[in-house]
Each structure stands twice: as C-alpha cells, then as structure tokens.
C-alpha cells in the first residue's frame, strides 16, 4: 500500500437478500483514495454507489474483502470501535442533512466532540461554523435555516473532528444551483487544504469539480476519469446508462 493512501477497499462485496431476489450491490470492488484527493462516484441509480460509501465508512457490513483505513481493517472492528471511528477519523454528509432538529447549529456541530467526551471550546465550534460561512447563524435551529445552510452545518459537523476521510452521499442532491455551488466551493477548498473526500453524485457539474471520477455499474467499477470536464463526465454517464 502506498504511504499516502488514506483508505483502500480490497475486494469488497456486499449482497442484499438471498435466493433469486438477491442483489449484488457491491461486487469485488478494489479502489484506494489518496490523501488530499477528492473523488466523485457516479453511476446509474441502483448501481451501488451508496453501498460502496457505506461499506467504506463501516456503516454497512461487508460479505467479503477488507476496508483499510490507514493500518486498520475496519471490517474487523466491533460496534464501539466503529462508533469511536465515526467521531474521530471519519465524517459524513448526506443528501438529507440529518441534523438533530432539537439542537442549534452550534450544538449540532459540537455533537461528535461531546460524544467523544470533550467539552469543545466555543471558539473551536464557532470557527468550524465560520469556515462554512455560518458564523452568525450559530444559535439557529435547523428549521430556521435554508436547505443550503443546513447542509453547510452538516459539513461543519462532519469536519469539526478533522476526519481523515469525508464521505458525502449526494450532498448537493437536495439543493438548488446556487446553494450547490456554495457547498462545492467549500468542498474544493477543504480538498485543497488536504482533506480526503469521497463523494457520490448524480450531477456531472459537481463531479467535474472533483479530482477524479469513478463510474459504477451493477456493483462494479467500470471506468475512471481524472481531470475531466463537465462535458466528458456527462458523456461517459450517458454511455453507461444506455
């Protein structure tokens, strides 16, 4: 394994159900992500993108293969160790923002740190919010924020622990073009600062902001483009879906 590889999937397979209705959502996936890289994952609906992300993050059990985060094979970890992983080395952002409705933006961001038993200084949390451009919205609850703002709170929450990898599943899927652009700009800036990002998306424009794009079909990686523009990504996707 190369020393600058942060996370690597080795022969990862995952089948849902059994018998004739079984779905092979991940079928022997081999892929590694370098430190500071931003990789977009694309493919037709049902091709296994979310499954890949969930397996890589230890949210979903794998049937075969290993997931190496640094020197740790996370498929062998027990639930407590995985929980700890989630609040230290891994961050998530989802299409539905998954904020706790009862908590303010600030409290949501502080949540992983508090779960880790830390009492984060106010400044640390405020800085994380300021980094996503929401410094003055700290006291607002999710329902008082726009969709784009909620997603930025979610990103701040995922990043506040300085995770080794940030996983994002269609982070712009529920946002309009303007809000999506803000989120992508944020991700670009983090990647440039050395943050490793793995992002599932349907949007060729979003994928084109990443360093590389991998294409999935039927649970298998079928292609990979590096530094492609929107046009090239869109064409490749259309070809896949045909």
């Amino acid at each position: 394994m190369q020393s600058d590889t942060v996370i690597a999937l080795e022969g990862v397979s995952r089948t849902y159900g059994a018998g004739p209705t079984a779905v092979r959502a991940a079928d022997g996936i081999d892929i590694s992500f370098r430190r500071g890289s931003w990789t977009a994952v694309m493919g037709p609906s049902g091709s296994g993108k979310s499954t890949l992300l969930h397996c890589a993050a230890g949210l979903e059990r794998v049937d075969a293969g290993r997931v190496m985060l640094g020197d740790t094979d996370i498929t062998t970890l027990d639930d407590d160790e995985l929980s700890q992983l989630r609040r230290t080395r891994i961050g998530f952002v989802f299409q539905s923002f998954n904020l706790v409705g009862a908590l303010t933006a600030e409290q949501n961001v502080a949540l992983p740190l508090r779960l880790a038993g830390r009492r984060p200084p106010r400044a640390e949390v405020r800085n994380a919010l300021a980094a996503v451009g929401l410094g003055e919205r700290a006291g607002h609850r999710p329902r008082e924020l726009s969709g784009g703002q909620q997603q930025r709170v979610a990103i701040a929450r995922a990043m506040v622990t300085r995770p080794e990898v940030l996983f994002a599943d269609e982070p712009t899927g529920a946002l309009d073009t303007g809000a999506a652009r803000d989120v992508l700009r944020l991700l670009r800036a983090s990647a440039d600062n050395g943050q490793t990002i793995v992002m599932v998306t349907h949007d060729p424009a979003a994928a084109a902001r990443a360093d590389a794009v991998v294409f999935l079909r039927d649970g298998r990686i079928v292609d990979r483009l590096a530094g492609a523009d929107v046009r090239a990504v869109a064409d490749r996707l259309v070809a896949l879906e045909a």
Partner: protein, 635 residues
C-alpha cells in the same frame, strides 16, 4: 449529553409530559393504597368497647386490610404496566433521533446511559409530583372506604415519612426498568437506520415478547381450566384473574394481533381517508400496538372484573333461592325467641344470628387464628328452612358445623372458637353444609352458646314458613311487631349484595381509580403517538390533503386502533366469563352469567370518544404549522 437531553425535553415536551404524568399517578395510587393498608393494619378498637364490638372492629379492619391488599396489588400491577409501556413507547418514538446520534459517533453505551439518565430524571420529577397527589388521593380513597362501610368510624389514613422514599424509589425504579429494556433495543439500532426505516427498526415482535405473551396466555387458559375445581372461593379468584392474564398476554402479542384485528374493519368504505388511515396503522405496527395496549388493559380488567363480580352476585342469589325454603324473612335486633313460632299461622321458623369469632385452625406450631363469622342457629329449624343442608342433629353444645363459607377445615377436624371474651375451647367439626358461591358464615354454632343478653342488639334474621292455608297478609301484619318483614326474594337480593360487598368494593376502589389511570394511559399513548408525527402529517398535506382531512384521517386511524383494542379487551374479559361459567356450573350446578351491559356500553363508547377527541386535538396541534415549515428542515 445532558444538554442534548434538555434540548430534547423542550422539543418533545408532550412526550415527556405524558411519561411524567403516568409516573405521577402511578406513584400516587401505590402510595395512597400502601399508606391506607399500613394504617388499617395498625389501628385498634377504641378503648372501652365491649368484647363483641372489639371483635367486630377487628373483623372490619381485617376486611379492609384484605381489600386494600388487593387494591395495592392492582395499583402496583397497573403502575408497572402503564409506566413501563409508556416509557418504552417514548424511546421507540425517538428511534430515528437515536440512530442519528449513532451516526455522528455515539456508542451504544452512551445511548443507553442517555436514556437511563432521562428515565431517572423523569422518574424523579414524576414521583416528586406523585407524593402530594398521593396525599390527595388518600383522602378520596378514605372517603370511599367510609362510604362503602369498609372501615370503622374514626379511621383515617396516616402519613408516614418513610413513604417518600418508597414512592420516589417506586417511581424511579419503574421508569428505569421500563426504559432499560427499550433502551437496550434502541441502542442496538444501526446508524444507517437513521437514513431509512429498515432492518431492526421495523422488527416489532421479539422472541422474548412473543414467549412472555404466550406464557401469560397459557396462564389464562390454565386458570380457566382450574376454576371449576377450585371450589367456591378459589374458583372465583381464578376466574377473576383470567382477564388479568389475558389482557397482559394480548397486549404483549399486540404488534401481531392489533393490525390483524384492525384489518377486519371495513375502512375502505371511508374512501381515501380510510385508505390512508389503514395504511398508516399497518405501516407503524409498533405505534398501533402501543396505542391499543392501554385500551386492552382498561377494557379487559374493568369489564372482566365487573362481569365476574355481578355474575357471582347473581349466582349467589339464585343459589340461595334454591336452597332456602321460606315464605317470609324477619330482620330484628337480637334473637326473636319464640315470639315468631307462637304467632298463629307460622309452621316453623329458623332464627339466625351472625357473630364475629376468632377461629383457630391447626394445632401446635401450625395453629393459626383469624377473624371469622359464626351463625348461631337452631339445628332443627335450620334443617327445615335449608332442606339441602344435610343432617345437623350432631350440632349441639360443644360442637360446630362447617358453614357455607368454610375454608381450610372439614368434618373430623377440630377448631378453636372464641366469641367475644368467651372462649369455647376446641370443638370438633361434626358436619358440613354445602359451600355457597356467595360465601356466608364460616361455622354454625348452636344458638345456646352465646348468652342472649350479649346478643340483644346484634341483628338477626328469621326465615318463616307459613301453614298452607294461612292469610299471608295477616301473618305479615302480626310479625311486623317482631321486626321488619320481607318476602324471601327481596331479602335475598339485599343479602347477596351485602355479601358480595367486598368484591363490589374492590371493583369500585380498584377499577374506579385504576380504570381512570388506564384511561389516562390511553390518552397518553394517543398524545405520544400524535406528538411525533408532525412531519408525516406535513408530507401528507403537501400532496393535497387539507388540514381537516389530515385530522379526520388521524382520528379515523385512532378509532380503528381503539376498536381493535376494545375487541381484544373484550376477548380478555370473555376469558373471565368462561371462568365464571365453569365455576358457577361446578359450584352451584347451573351456569349464571350476568354481564353489566350498561357498563360495557359506557366503557366502549367512552374509550372511542376519548381516543377520537384526544387524537383530533393532538393532530390539530401537530398540523398548526404550515407544512412547508416542517418539510424544509430535514432531520
């Protein structure tokens, strides 16, 4: 973590208020019953009372202790049941929120600790409120006890300081126990379940729950099977407990049963609203079952106990009617002596005086003395008015006969009898009259053993048989000088009501207060179920439903769930009726069933009404905000 809890408190206060309310009332009910029980068992007769009066006092407090024991048992059962199911329900309703915590790195242990800390806090708050409410409730219960004549004048419930510890302990322990099982399950939730409703989240029926449910069901069936061989007393107790077991069993099996039963309701007829309501109650089986649970308990317990009690009263009355052969009954103070027998037209008469006694059964180390009653009779007269009593010629001075309410001894045994301060010593049991469903005196004694002057104002009743061709009216007018004359049927009716006063008292004390508590459980579960659904309602509204339609669909859904609960509750109550049929057939020879239809109707209509109104109010509250406001915030 506690900050999170606090934020959660404010956000879902209805959920937590409901939990606090159940703890508060449960603690109050248990506390009041326990204090009264302790007070009753430590009171003693006022100084200066005569020996027989003291004995009456003891007998009456002993009855009160028994009654309060049952009340306490039921209160504890209801408290355990309603508190634990409410707390479990509040945890289930927060499954998604908890999965979210897991998603951002919460360990299982942390989720469990959070929930247990919350339960402790809610338990503390609930018991703190429950203690003063319990004091007020004790006033109500004492008043009831006086009204029902269960306690002597001057009795009052006494406050004890230690009760605070007991009450708070009860509240906290029940809350924590209720939560701990649910917390274990909730902590097992996989983080991914925050993103969708699959896997563990939709599994409602656990093996443990299924097995416990089946165990209680087997218990109910066994009780039905044993009730005909339990004798008059045992059979009645077993029959009454059938509905308790059955209600618990059906509640535990609820997640499987309730949706299936609700499916029987033809909701399709109600159009698109009915369709939505049915889909909803099938979709969230856990919510459906939790809402139906208190209805099952309420209906099963109240109607089961009430119909058993009224059936046994009716059976007791019928039985007496068959066994006693008399034309008139005279109630008089003290024995009537030969004033009745010398009245022209009277063929024969049997005067009976019931006195309290201390009865000792067993001997040596096993000797056990308790309050009981003896019927002072003239054996020959008793035999004539009770043709089925058997041969009582052996009943003379120095012997006893096992009475209709005898329990724990039989002919051939020896029992010790003390009447007032007069010890009659050890007496052989020489015969037994048939046991009666309505109970009665424990032993029969010959009239002469208690000096007449001691009995001067003890109430007596005299069964009178008239000569065939005598004017009844004339006899009545002559006998009125002796005492109050009634015909047999109306006298028996009064007597059987008095005899079953204990079970009626249990019914009023336990079912009245307990039923109210269960009703609050019903309201609570509807509130909890509705409080967590604003987003769901909002989603329905943006697809084109008006607010009114959403409310109507939710009300329809609640009514269907209430109906399913009612049906299952009635099934549990029916279990008790089977026990009643078996017991009355075995003990009295004929089946007697008396269902209090008015009460059944009131409970059914009341439950549906309460559920519908609560559901309408909570749904209105949950849809107050415009739907976009709710859908905008993605959790």
């Amino acid at each position: 973590m506690l900050r999170l809890s606090w934020a959660g408190f404010r956000e879902r206060w209805t959920l937590f208020a409901g939990a606090v309310l159940t703890v508060c009332l449960g603690v109050a009910l248990v506390q009041s019953s326990l204090l009264l029980l302790v007070s009753a068992s430590t009171t003693s007769a006022p100084a200066g009372a005569g020996a027989l009066a003291r004995m009456s006092f003891d007998a009456s407090t002993e009855a009160a202790v028994a009654l309060l024991g049952v009340t306490l048992g039921f209160a504890a059962l209801l408290a355990v049941f309603i508190i634990s199911s409410t707390f479990a329900f509040t945890v289930e309703q927060r499954r998604r929120e908890l999965a979210l915590l897991r998603l951002v790195g919460g360990a299982r242990r942390q989720i469990r600790r959070l929930l247990l800390a919350e339960a402790t806090l809610l338990g503390l708050v609930g018991s703190a409120l429950g203690v003063p409410v319990g004091v007020a409730l004790m006033g109500v219960q004492t008043w009831l006890l006086h009204r029902l004549g269960f306690v002597p004048d001057g009795f009052s419930g006494q406050w004890r300081l230690w009760i605070v510890a007991v009450s708070v302990g009860t509240g906290v322990v029940l809350a924590v126990v209720g939560v701990s099982l649910a917390a274990r399950r909730a902590a097992r939730v996989r983080p991914l379940d925050a993103l969708r409703d699959t896997g563990e989240a939709t599994r409602v029926m656990t093996t443990a729950r299924l097995l416990t449910g089946l165990l209680f069901l087997a218990g109910a069936v066994t009780l039905i099977g044993l009730s005909p061989v339990g004798g008059a007393v045992g059979g009645q107790a077993m029959a009454m407990n059938v509905s308790v077991c059955a209600a618990i069993a059906l509640t535990l099996l609820g997640p499987s049963l309730v949706p299936a039963v609700a499916r029987l309701i033809p909701a399709r007829a109600a159009g698109v609203l009915g369709g939505l309501a049915t889909a909803n109650l099938r979709d969230d089986r856990r919510r459906t079952a939790s809402t139906a649970a208190p209805v099952i308990v309420l209906v099963g317990l109240v109607l089961g106990q009430a119909s058993a009690s009224s059936s046994f009263t009716a059976a007791g009355q019928l039985e007496q009617q068959r066994r006693i052969s008399a034309d008139l009954v005279i109630d008089a103070p003290g024995p009537t002596g030969d004033r009745v027998t010398t009245t022209p037209g009277v063929a024969s008469a049997s005067t009976e005086v019931e006195v309290p006694i201390a009865l000792t059964t067993g001997s040596g180390d096993l000797a056990y003395t308790r309050s009981a009653t003896a019927l002072l009779v003239d054996p020959a007269g008793y035999g004539r008015t009770h043709p089925g009593a058997g041969d009582l010629t052996a009943l003379r001075q120095g012997a006893v006969v096992a009475g209709p309410g005898a329990d724990g001894f039989s002919p051939g045994d020896t029992v010790g009898v003390r009447v007032g301060d007069q010890d009659l010593g050890s007496l052989p049991v020489v015969a037994a009259v048939p046991q009666a469903i309505g109970g009665g005196a424990t032993v029969l004694l010959p009239a002469g053993v208690v000096p007449a002057e001691q009995l001067a104002d003890v109430p007596s009743h005299t069964f009178v048989q008239l000569l065939p061709d005598v004017s009844r009216q004339q006899a009545v007018s002559t006998l009125t000088e002796v005492g109050t004359v009634s015909d047999l049927d109306s006298w028996l009716e009064r007597d059987s009501v008095a005899r079953t006063a204990t079970s009626t008292g249990v019914l009023i004390m336990v079912m009245g207060l307990g039923g109210l508590y269960a009703l609050i459980g019903v309201i609570n579960s509807v509130v909890v179920a509705g409080a967590t659904r604003p987003r769901e309602f909002a989603a329905v509204r943006v697809t084109g439903f008006t607010r009114g339609q959403v409310v109507r669909a939710a009300v329809l859904e609640s009514i269907m769930v209430a109906f399913a609960g009612l049906l299952l509750g009635l099934l549990a109550a029916a279990g008790t009726l089977i026990g009643v049929i078996a017991t009355t057939a075995a003990v009295a020879g004929t089946v007697t069933v008396d269902v209090p239809w008015l009460l059944v109707g009131a409970v059914v209509v009341g439950t549906v009404l309460v559920t519908a109104v609560t559901s309408a109010l909570t749904t209105r509250a949950a849809t107050r905000q415009p739907p976009v406001a709710l859908l905008g915030a993605r959790q």
